[in-house]
Symmetry: C2
Subunit: 236 residues, 2 copies
DNA sequence: TCAAAAGTGTTCACAGTACACCCATGC
DNA sequence: GCATGGGTGTACTGTGAACACTTTTGA
């Protein structure tokens, strides 16, 4: 029992669920496989973990290869281990989800992967268990974003309240009252009002805000009304 | 790129963080290793994943071996993949945390493992990165239990409000007002009041409750005041 | 001047908090 | 009958929800 030498070794991969927002819809970045097996089918971008890197390292590498971007928001989602999940050979996959401002991405796209953005509710069929993985990622994104200031990662550094509200509405597929939304987000004290306005989307113009980085890190765990927050945070 | 045959294969293990409650304190079940390497040191219970089982299957098997219990509450915590984390050979470990009523466990203990319960704040030194894993598990337990009806898994099928309150107080290391606590828990409609009382812990006696299984599964996602719950749940 | 979107104010209902009080029972 | 812990009532406060209202500006 527990003797290392007698144990089976497995392939070990990462898959990235990349969310983006274009101002209208929440979208997912997938690639069209240019190699066998399943050439031509849609898939999450992923890769095998090499001998010297951690899974986080591999995921960051894969993200960088595809988007050209470093330092994206990244979070371990779940590990998928069904012996039958990969049709070729048993592979354990750790899924990461990442958030990205689509506009930033566009300039640095890597066409080797044949990537495409799909609206989150109009995804094509994906290989293996990738559809299931995406479903879980959507669920976790909504869950986490309800409690923590995640969604800013999907917007440019400067954004307006109406833009932020549109994003939340897209993520939760719901309408929010603008007055209540404004007050609620401002009450977190995580936003800094800037002096200039966005005049493209309305006549009056909407003030830009940016995230207050100092408070952002500190307040990450206690964003919206996380109920027994004083206790949860104080004991962590 | 992405050629299966050229990739490295790795050892793949599960580790279980087993929480228990004895009526006083939140405790963790660890084992004393009876084999090399690191014989005699304290460790989470774990095991390698075999060729035909999933990680969930392996974790359930390990739990059953140690506690004699099936069907414990179990949740995937996180995967640990640092190339250096296992001193013997690179091993990817998926951590699961489990919740167990200590009294149920006691009758079925498997002494081959040399297991011991330690209060959560007085743990011995653990091998590898197990201390870090336990810290993360404690954090996630508090986080999840604040939003979902998890902690019932740590109690017998029949329990009293004061017992439930003690448990919450042990987990959050805080005092709660009994009146507010009662009303809050009852407002979830997840508890059924029974006709008999526990007379051991007080003269007056406290009514037993049990979890309403039907509502339990349904209400799992929307327990305490999870803020935008109507939206979060409706879109999931 | 009017339409459209940004932003503010106001009211209401309800949930959380604190704390006083009553209840049942064993000694 | 009194101490002990279980359980209920209540008044206060703050937050979220709904919606009316004001502001700014381009056409």
């Amino acid at each position: 029992m527990r003797r290392y030498s007698q144990q089976k070794r497995f392939l070990f991969a990462v898959d990235c669920i990349i969310f983006g927002y274009d101002g209208q819809e929440l979208k997912l970045l997938v690639i069209q496989r240019s190699f066998e097996p399943f050439k031509g089918m849609w898939s999450l971008v992923g890769g095998f973990v090499s001998e010297t890197e951690s899974a986080e390292g591999a995921a960051a590498r894969v993200l960088k290869d595809l988007t050209g971007l470093d330092g994206l928001y990244m979070e371990q989602l779940h590990s998928f281990t069904d012996p039958e999940r990969d049709a070729v050979e048993r592979t354990v996959s750790i899924a990461y989800f990442a958030l990205i401002d689509i506009k930033k991405y566009k300039q640095q796209i890597n066409e080797d992967y044949h990537p495409a953005w799909f609206p989150i509710n109009k995804l094509p069929e994906l290989i293996f268990d990738h559809t299931k993985i995406v479903e879980l990622a959507k669920e976790k994104l909504r869950y986490n974003a309800a409690l923590h200031p995640l969604l800013f990662e999907l917007l440019p550094a400067k954004f307006t309240m109406p833009q932020l509200q549109s994003l939340y509405q897209a993520v939760y597929n719901a309408e929010f009252d603008k007055g209540n939304f404004n007050r609620k987000l401002l009450s977190t004290k995580l936003l800094l009002k800037l002096k200039d306005k966005d005049k493209l989307n309305s006549k009056k113009g909407a003030f830009y805000y940016k995230v207050d980085i100092k408070k952002y890190s500190a307040g990450f765990k206690s964003f919206l009304n996380f109920v027994p927050s004083q206790h949860v945070n104080s004991v962590l």
